[in-house]
Every structure is written in structure tokens, then in C-alpha cells.
């Protein structure tokens, strides 16, 4: 039995301090992982783990050989003129690159989960700019942590351990000098981590935009906060919030899912980026940076892989082997039914998209590449099992702060299951050789 220090791919924080005891065949013990991380390691032996390839015959999914399943995939792709490829935030960068190569070869449209999540902030920042930071910089320097529409205690469980309680290299103190601010309409589990000098701001639902606008106005014109307060916060709360933001030497705003909601005629993200810009212009001694709290372990990776290989960070449409300009996203493609089959990799759109879109997606053949059962794999036409990246195969991934890390292999996958990158390579090879 050997103990190894490994990186956990349970979420986008990619903790690199996990100890795993293994004999090379099974994982015996996992030390230091959170609930989500433990689940990730337990997936290897989970009862709903997908181990055998499956194809749909007479309405039923039946086990088959990998060759039969790949042949069925090839038949679907050869009949298709508008295939969709979607997912990739639970895949390595190597698999993402292979996915883009496949999309190019089959004249498909490829997008990642990021486009309906934190990628929206990166897209907005193309016009306004964005100041990002890294986890190490936060540990070493940050004195203000603002979580807006985010519940790190449940979504990225060890994030607060790292950024709030760690002692920094350039500061003599740790938690004592860090102010934690949480802005959320719901009193989430994260509120329980707050100390006496922290600021808990439970705002009225759907009033984030009013709060952002009031803060922008107060930054430009002192005394503009109305006496009755804004968004359910009183005037003193607003003043404390602004004082903390403008007085921080190294402030960090963690942007959560709560800020990605749609509000009619407003662009929350754009206005938030403008607020940060105004505060940073006013700042005499420091700055405010952003961290995007995407959940999946390689959501940030697709942006980098797509941008560095194609010049576009998401929503790639290929026609005649060339990338073309397109305003489409995965949402508009599905909504307009502008596809005739889909390859879904490491995600479950039938569960996580609204049912109107799920119905449209389900009306065309679905090929799933995943290592666990999902609503999408249950209704798919072909299911290809994949190895678990970071446990059963290696792969490059990007942490939520856009730092690249190499995941290592710990044990062999069961039943000769191969990685998603190798599966995509086989699909591409079959398509090219039998065409």
C-alpha cells in the first residue's frame, strides 16, 4: 500500500493536498478531501458507474462491445449534417482539444457548460476588461473577501478554508485581518462561517442590480444613498460595504451563480464589472479583483483550449472544416432545433436544462460519453463509458483561478475502460478512415 499526494477533481478548486492510500488496484483511503472530493473518489466503485458500452435496440439500452458502440456512433455521425458537441467541463484539456478537432472534421457545433455559467462573465469582460487573481495571491495578500450570490460552503467546500483561514506569506496575520462579506438573498450555510467583524448582507430577492447601481452612484457622488437604504439594506450597511470595498488593499469579489440570473432589460454582469472598474479607479492603495466560481473541475479549461486553438473561447461552429462567425450558443442551437444529433460529454443536459430544451435535445439521437449514470445517459442512443480523469487517467485541467494543473493517474480503470480523449480519438479515426 502506497500513500500519494494527489489533486482532487471533485470541484473547480482542485485541492492539491489530498493523500490517497492505494495498492494500484483499489483506493483504500482518502485523507483531507471534502464531501464532494470523497464522492469523486468513491465514484470508481459506485453502483451506477457505467462500465459497459451500450446501444439502443428496440427501445432498450443493451450492453455491447466498444467496437459495436463506436460503429453505431459512426453511423449516426455519417447521417448527420449538423451535429452538436456539448459538455467538456468535466473533461481534460486533451479531451477538449480532441472534441474541437472532431467538431471541425464533422462540421459540428461545439460548446461547453461554461457558456451558461461563468463563461458569461468572461464574455462580458471582452468589452470592459477584468482583473482576475489567483488562490495563492488571495492566501498571501487578500484582506477583503466578498462572496456575491455564492455559497462556497456548499458549492466549493474547501474554498473558505483556503482563502479565509490560511495565513499569508506577506501578512503577519490571517483570518484576523480578513473581512468576509456575503451578499445573498438567502441565508446560506456560508453565513455560518462569519465572525463578529464580518458583514452579512441579506438583500431583497432580485435586487442585486439596484444595489450595484446605488454603489456606483455613491462612488461618483458622495451622499447619494437614499435614507431608506437600497435593496433591503439600510444606509449604514451600504456605507460599511462601500468603505470595505474602497478601503481594501487586496479585495476579492467571488462571483457566484446568483449573479448570473437573467433580469429583464439589465445586464448585471456588465454593471458589476463597471462598479469594480470605478472602485479600482478611486482606489489609492490597492485594488479589487474577481474570482469566477464555476463548479465543474475544468470549466475554465475549455475557454483556454478553444481560445488558444481557434481564437474564440466558446460556441465554435464549423462549416466545410472552417470556423465561421456565429452568434449561436448551445441554448439557441437547441431552442431553434438547429441540430440533428448530439454528443454529450461528462454532463447531464436532460436534467439541468429547462424541460422545453430537454425535450428538443431528446428528440434527436444522443451519444453520451460519461462515467456515471444520468438522465441523459438513460435516454441516449449510444453510451460510451469513460475513465475518471485524475483517478484512472491523466489530464491537464484549469483551476477556477485559471491556473493549469496536471492530474495524475492513481489506479487502472475497470474493464479496460478508456479515457474520454481516447474515445473521441477513436470516433475521429473511424469517421476519417471509413468515410
Amino acid at each position: 500500500m502506497v500513500s500519494k499526494r494527489v489533486i482532487c477533481a471533485g470541484c473547480s478548486l482542485l485541492c492539491d493536498d489530498i493523500i490517497v492510500r492505494s495498492d494500484g488496484l483499489f483506493i483504500d483511503e482518502v485523507i483531507g478531501a471534502c464531501l464532494k472530493g470523497k464522492e469523486r473518489f468513491d465514484q470508481c466503485m459506485a453502483k451506477n458507474r457505467i462500465i459497459s458500452p451500450k446501444i439502443r435496440e428496440e427501445g432498450e439500452l443493451k450492453n455491447c462491445s466498444l467496437e459495436e458502440a463506436l460503429e453505431r456512433v459512426d453511423q449516426i455521425l455519417k447521417r448527420s449534417s449538423r451535429p452538436l458537441l456539448y459538455g467538456f467541463s468535466n473533461s481534460s484539456c486533451e479531451a477538449q482539444l480532441k472534441g474541437i478537432e472532431l467538431a471541425k472534421r464533422i462540421n459540428g457545433f461545439i460548446d461547453s457548460n461554461s457558456i451558461i455559467c461563468q463563461g458569461r462573465i468572461l464574455n462580458a469582460s471582452k468589452k470592459f476588461g477584468i482583473t482576475l487573481t489567483t488562490i495563492s495571491e488571495i492566501i498571501n495578500k487578500a484582506d477583503l473577501l466578498l462572496f456575491w450570490g455564492a455559497n462556497p460552503a456548499e458549492s466549493i467546500p474547501r474554498l473558505l478554508n483556503k482563502v479565509l483561514f490560511s495565513r499569508g506569506k506577506f501578512r503577519m496575520t490571517g483570518r484576523e485581518i480578513r473581512t468576509l462579506i456575503i451578499i445573498d438573498p438567502v441565508k446560506t450555510a456560508s453565513f455560518n462561517t462569519m465572525g463578529v467583524r464580518d458583514v452579512a448582507l441579506q438583500i431583497d430577492p432580485n435586487k442585486d442590480i439596484e444595489l450595484i447601481r446605488a454603489l456606483k452612484e455613491e462612488c461618483c457622488l458622495d451622499g447619494s444613498i437614499p435614507p431608506e437604504g437600497v435593496a433591503g439594506l439600510d444606509k449604514d450597511d451600504m456605507k460599511r460595504l462601500l468603505l470595505n470595498l474602497s478601503g481594501a488593499e487586496n479585495g476579492v469579489v467571488f462571483v457566484g451563480q446568483g449573479l448570473l440570473k437573467t433580469q429583464k432589460d439589465t445586464n448585471l454582469i456588465k454593471e458589476l464589472l463597471e462598479l469594480i472598474e470605478i472602485i479600482n479607479e478611486k482606489q489609492q492603495k490597492g485594488r479589487i479583483s474577481l474570482v469566477l466560481m464555476g463548479g465543474h473541475y475544468n470549466m475554465a479549461g475549455f475557454e483556454h483550449v478553444a481560445l488558444s486553438n481557434t481564437g474564440k473561447n466558446h460556441s465554435l461552429q464549423y462549416v466545410n472544416g472552417e470556423l465561421i462567425d456565429s452568434e449561436d450558443t448551445i441554448v439557441s442551437k437547441i431552442n431553434n432545433e438547429d441540430f440533428d444529433c448530439s454528443i454529450i460529454i461528462g454532463t447531464d443536459p436532460i436534467s439541468h436544462l429547462p424541460s422545453s430544451l430537454a425535450r428538443k435535445l431528446a428528440s434527436k439521437p444522443i451519444i453520451v460519453i460519461d462515467n456515471r449514470k444520468s438522465a441523459t445517459s438513460t435516454i441516449a442512443n449510444v453510451v460510451l463509458p469513460s475513465a475518471i480523469t485524475g483517478i484512472e487517467c491523466t489530464g491537464l485541467v484549469y483551476r477556477l483561478d485559471h491556473v493549469p494543473l496536471e492530474l495524475k493517474k492513481i489506479i487502472n480503470p475497470p474493464s479496460n475502460v478508456i479515457s474520454d480523449k481516447d474515445l473521441l480519438e477513436k470516433i475521429l479515426y473511424n469517421f476519417e478512415t471509413q468515410f
Binding site: 451563480q257 433580469q263 439541468h352 438513460t378
Partner: protein
């Protein structure tokens, strides 16, 4: 009763975990739920054993009720799942998962299982 629906990822009600380790029953028990604050449960005159029908402009779903004191008044929180997504939708090009106006009524109808929902999705 008119309420405001928010979907959230919750560590105790996680669809990926239930799909991986659970079965159809545990999926339904953990995910086909609506979290309401105790005052709203009282005003709706229901108990934690009741079923409610939540109706939005995008659709409707029947789920079980769970009490959660930290949920704001007149708000329903549902874990992200296939059940919650029966009543979410899209506006223009954006998905709408939060701040959805819904009507809530008590019902004696059964909560649909994942098979029912998948059949509905596949065959509609």
C-alpha cells in the same frame, strides 16, 4: 399562493450524487422537493408530508415540502434537478433558473418519478 422560485445547487440534495450512488426512489426523495420557510408552510396550511403543485409560465410540477428556516418569506428553493427544470425556462437567449414567479397549490396527486419525467421528455 404567489411565490418566487429559485433553483440552487445544494450539497445535501445533489443530482449528480444521487444518479451515481442512489436509485430512482432516493432521486425522488432527495430532489423532488421544495424548501419553504415555516411561516409560508403555515399560511399554505400544509405539513411536511404534503405535496404541492408549483405552476410557472413554463410548466408545472408536483413535489414534496420541506421546512427550512433560512429560506426567505414567499420564496421557494428547489435543488437543481429534472424536477425543478419542469418549471424553469428561457427568455430571449438566456436560461431562467432564478426569481421565477410561481403559483403554489396543495394537491393529492403523486410526485412523478424520474421514469415518468423521462418518458414525458422523450415522447412529447
Amino acid at each position: 399562493m404567489k411565490m418566487n422560485l429559485n433553483t440552487q445547487r445544494k450539497v445535501d440534495y445533489d443530482q449528480a450524487k444521487e444518479h451515481t450512488f442512489g436509485d430512482d426512489t432516493s432521486l425522488k426523495e432527495k430532489l423532488a422537493i421544495a424548501l419553504l420557510n415555516p411561516d409560508d408552510i403555515k399560511s399554505l396550511n400544509i405539513s411536511q408530508k404534503s405535496h404541492i403543485k408549483i405552476i410557472s409560465k413554463y410548466g408545472s410540477i408536483i413535489v414534496a415540502v420541506k421546512e427550512e428556516k433560512d429560506v426567505p418569506p414567499r420564496t421557494i428553493i428547489m435543488p437543481v434537478s429534472i424536477w425543478a427544470n419542469q418549471i424553469t425556462g428561457m427568455e430571449e437567449k438566456n436560461l431562467v433558473f432564478k426569481n421565477i414567479e410561481v403559483d403554489v397549490e396543495i394537491t393529492e396527486e403523486a410526485i412523478p418519478g424520474i421514469d415518468n419525467l423521462l418518458n414525458k421528455i422523450k415522447n412529447s
